[in-house]
């Protein structure tokens, strides 16, 4: 089968074209070793089936970022029959910079000038034939939202994958540079068995000091040293480094070509300009941003949450219930029933309950991204976020964290640098998610009836405070020398396109269900087994109260002692364990353990369940359930030293181990190692902070105070050590580069 790949700048419409070529059936994965998304699909056109790959958006091929490295490796690995170089027709000059690099690699290609409609709107007249004549490859201008244009593109592709053209044009550099290039080419000729035959390209890469590309083309240290002198001489003559001279000449080439082939009548980009006057202004910028974020929330909470029960009951009806009936019918042993029903069934059910929230959240984020507003938000928040060493863009995932940490962690994908992704993911769980709100609210209503709102608010504030402190710690200790540099195009506003937004949202949802779903399922099976095993390891699927889980809870309640939790208050410890499953379970656990009310057995049939699923949607909007709080009053007496102990318990719930679903998402984004570090950090911090709070206000036990203070010191030391190790690795890498340069 023939294989084509789409390459181009971010935001020029690659994914739109990819979707148009392949339809919704796509394979989403990651490129090996990096968290750069890989999309693959198939183009069916007149009995021809062609494999299509969507490469990440890049501005140049210099292997400085993961995205660029992935693309460069992809090209160098060969095997691609045709590259579609997508160019934003409303911004040809900047986009052609990447094209000049592709041309120098002598690869088979077609240029697709996309967003032609916008270019026409800007009164640009693009002469594609002129481009084609100069570059000796096919050039087509399209509007990828237009069916006819897409058909023309498919036809062009199918004609050219068989016998593709390679750009046959040479970009000229000043004489001194050309001299070095030809010397280098000669040197390379006697260097023999290199993996890449394009000597001119390798020579230019050397002048650009692009060491990764050089190592891929078999260049070595000695050769570089040999030319160091000549390069120095040129740099002295031009008073500029060779990489800048090369970039300058490429832009010169582009300018010549552009003036030949594009005519511009007059400019009218009014709409964008007018909106930006407000959206970027010092006065209105922030309020507008906050208002839009409020809308995102409102939409997610109102629509998303109203569907949670629906998804819960429906998935219980079509998955858990049949599994239950199946195991009863074959009378499987209790352990199998537990794993199947309470583990796998309930696990899938809990993955399903996340679907509406995640869907709504990604839907709104996709709309913001597609419309072009996201870039403005990044600008508005940049100054504030810079204070904790993050770019403005990372504010969005953090805000999302207030509704649910899972989509928030996944939204961190939109950040470019790995460092920014890691720090953001570390901070997200400190934003109190929607599931923690009922816990705060119910506890506050029972224990702090006169100041309930203040108590809840203070917990949110404490979370944010620790997020800011964590950010500082990262900035000051770990990534000392890595400032977040961000340069980003400010795209023209666009009317969001439903089809592509839905494909995008659906892809995200699929990724969540597969990667986070796996972890949730494993966790749910483990908890189910612990919950129905006795401490003599006998199994009873309907066990209540005396399970291994309760046993562990009782035995470990000593850990919560510094928070004023006594041993007879062991349900509070069990609730901490079930809270790992999902935060709102804290309340449910305390309720059932304290009230000893066995939950009513669900005996309804599948059709009845489906009916009640539909009924749950209007119910959500019409009634508030508060029956759960009653049993909490029973717990009231058990929290010794009342309020202070409860507050420190709530502090613990705020900070400690995020729920398994979040853990799943974190693993998906930064791997097991990073995820382990993050949950260890959070749990240690939670223990130290809440113990310190209780001991300073009520307990006054010097041992516990010392212990929690030392844990905080330990955390800080660990951060500093991590910084040392990282900068050690860095200087090593730099050292290697230095040796080359």
């Amino acid at each position: 089968m023939k294989k084509i790949a789409i390459i181009g700048n971010p935001n020029c419409g690659k994914t739109t074209i990819f979707n148009e070529l392949t339809g919704a059936r796509q394979i989403i994965g990651n490129w090996p070793g990096v968290t750069v998304e890989r999309k693959e699909g198939f183009l069916n056109f007149e009995n021809q089936k062609i494999q299509v790959i969507d490469l990440p958006g890049i501005y140049s091929l210099s292997a400085k970022s993961d995205d660029e490295k992935v693309s460069l490796d992809f090209i160098l690995n060969g095997g691609t029959d045709l590259f579609l170089n997508v160019i934003d027709a409303s911004n040809i000059q900047r986009n052609l910079y990447l094209t000049t690099q592709l041309i120098e690699m002598n690869i088979p290609m077609i240029i697709v000038m996309n967003r032609h409609d916008i270019a026409i709107n800007h009164n640009l007249e693009i002469n594609t034939e002129e481009f084609s004549k100069h570059l000796k490859i096919p050039v087509i201008a399209i509007n990828s939202h237009d069916k006819e244009d897409v058909y023309k593109l498919k036809k062009l592709i199918s004609e050219h994958t068989e016998k593709p053209d390679t750009a046959a044009v040479k970009i000229d550099y000043p004489d001194e540079i050309e001299n070095i290039i030809s010397e280098l080419e000669k040197a390379l000729e006697c260097g023999l068995d290199r993996c890449f035959e394009n000597k001119r390209w390798a020579a230019i890469k050397l002048l650009e000091k692009d060491f990764y590309a050089l190592s891929r083309s078999g260049f070595d240290q000695k050769e570089y040293d040999h030319f160091q002198k000549n390069i120095f001489a040129i740099e002295k003559l031009h008073k500029e480094t060779t990489d800048i001279i090369i970039a300058d000449y490429r832009f010169g080439f582009i300018k010549g070509l552009y003036e030949h082939a594009v005519k511009r009548k007059s400019d009218k980009r009014q709409r964008t300009e007018i909106i930006d006057k407000a959206a970027l202004s010092g006065i209105f910028g922030l309020p507008i941003f906050l208002f839009i974020m409020y809308l995102v929330f409102k939409f997610t909470i109102d629509i998303g949450s109203s569907l949670i029960s629906f998804f819960d009951i429906i998935s219980a009806a079509i998955i858990t219930k049949p599994l239950e009936m199946l195991s009863a019918f074959f009378s499987f042993p209790d352990i199998v029933q537990t794993i199947l029903v309470s583990g796998v069934g309930v696990g899938i059910q809990s993955v399903m309950t996340f679907v509406p929230i995640i869907f709504c959240m990604f839907l709104s984020l996709s709309i913001l991204e597609d419309s072009g507003y996201m870039a403005r938000a990044a600008f508005v928040m940049d100054k504030f976020m810079q204070k904790i060493g993050l770019p403005g863009k990372s504010f969005v995932p953090m805000i999302v964290g207030f509704s649910c940490s899972v989509p928030a962690v996944m939204a961190s994908r939109t950040l470019e640098s790995r460092k920014d992704r890691i720090v953001t993911i570390f901070l997200i769980p400190l934003m109190s998610c929607g599931a923690r709100l009922p816990v705060y609210a119910l506890f506050a209503a029972v224990f702090f009836p006169e100041n309930a709102a203040l108590a809840v608010f203070s917990l949110y504030a404490v979370g944010i405070l620790f997020a800011v402190l964590t950010g500082f710690l990262f900035k000051k200790a770990v990534y000392k020398n890595e400032v977040s540099h961000f340069v980003m195009e400010l795209p023209v506003y666009n009317f969001p396109r439903p089809k592509h937004i839905f494909i995008h949202t659906w892809n995200r949802l699929k990724v969540f269900m597969l990667s986070a779903g796996k972890v949730i399922l494993i966790g749910s099976v483990i908890l189910a087994v612990l919950n129905s095993a006795g401490h003599d390891f006998s199994f009873n699927k309907d066990r209540k109260g005396d399970s291994l889980l309760t046993y562990i809870g009782k035995k470990t309640s000593v850990v919560l002692k510094p928070m004023g939790i006594t041993e007879e208050n062991w349900p509070a410890t069990v609730a901490v364990f079930t809270g790992i499953f999902s935060k709102e379970a804290v309340i449910g656990t305390l309720n059932s353990l304290y009230s000893q009310i066995d939950e009513a057995e669900e005996t309804s049939s599948i059709p009845e369940m489906i009916k009640s699923a539909f009924a749950s949607i209007p119910e959500y909007f019409s009634q508030q359930s508060d029956d759960e709080s009653s049993a909490l009053f029973a717990a009231k007496a058990k929290f010794s030293n009342g309020k202070l102990s409860v507050y420190s318990y709530l502090l613990f719930i705020l900070i400690y181990f995020p729920c398994i679903a979040t853990l799943g998402a974190i693993v998906g984004e930064i791997g097991w190692k990073g995820a382990a570090l993050s949950v260890t950090y959070l749990t240690m911090l939670a223990w130290a902070v809440s113990s310190l709070f209780y001991q300073l206000t009520a307990g006054h036990d010097i041992v516990f105070i010392t212990a929690s203070a030392s844990i905080i010191l330990l955390i800080i030391t660990a951060f500093i050590a991590a910084g040392k190790i990282l900068s050690g690795e860095k200087t090593n890498a730099d050292g290697k580069n230095k040796k080359l340069s």
């Binding site: 501005y59 400085k64 000059q93 977040s484 961000f486 400010l490």
Partner: protein, 71 residues
């Protein structure tokens, strides 16, 4: 000559880009190189700014704007 992070709204010419290879590279491919004319559209106090290069507007983050010298 001033830093871009302190430059007035309006037209300027890029003089030099300080900072490491990755900073330089990110700017190069956006067409921000020494000698280029740029226009500052909006700028936050000592911080990030929006500039126009050719036909495109780009956002330059606060840290980055300090590395660009203009006149």
């Amino acid at each position: 000559m001033t830093k871009l992070s302190e430059a007035q709204i309006g037209k300027h010419k890029v003089v030099s880009i300080e900072g490491g290879a990755s900073v330089k590279d990110k700017l190069l491919c956006q067409g921000v190189l020494p000698g280029k004319e740029i226009a500052v559209i909006t700028r936050k106090n000592k911080g990030p700014c929006v500039i126009e290069v050719g036909l495109t507007k780009i956002i330059i983050g606060g840290g980055m704007a300090e590395k660009i010298m203009v006149e």
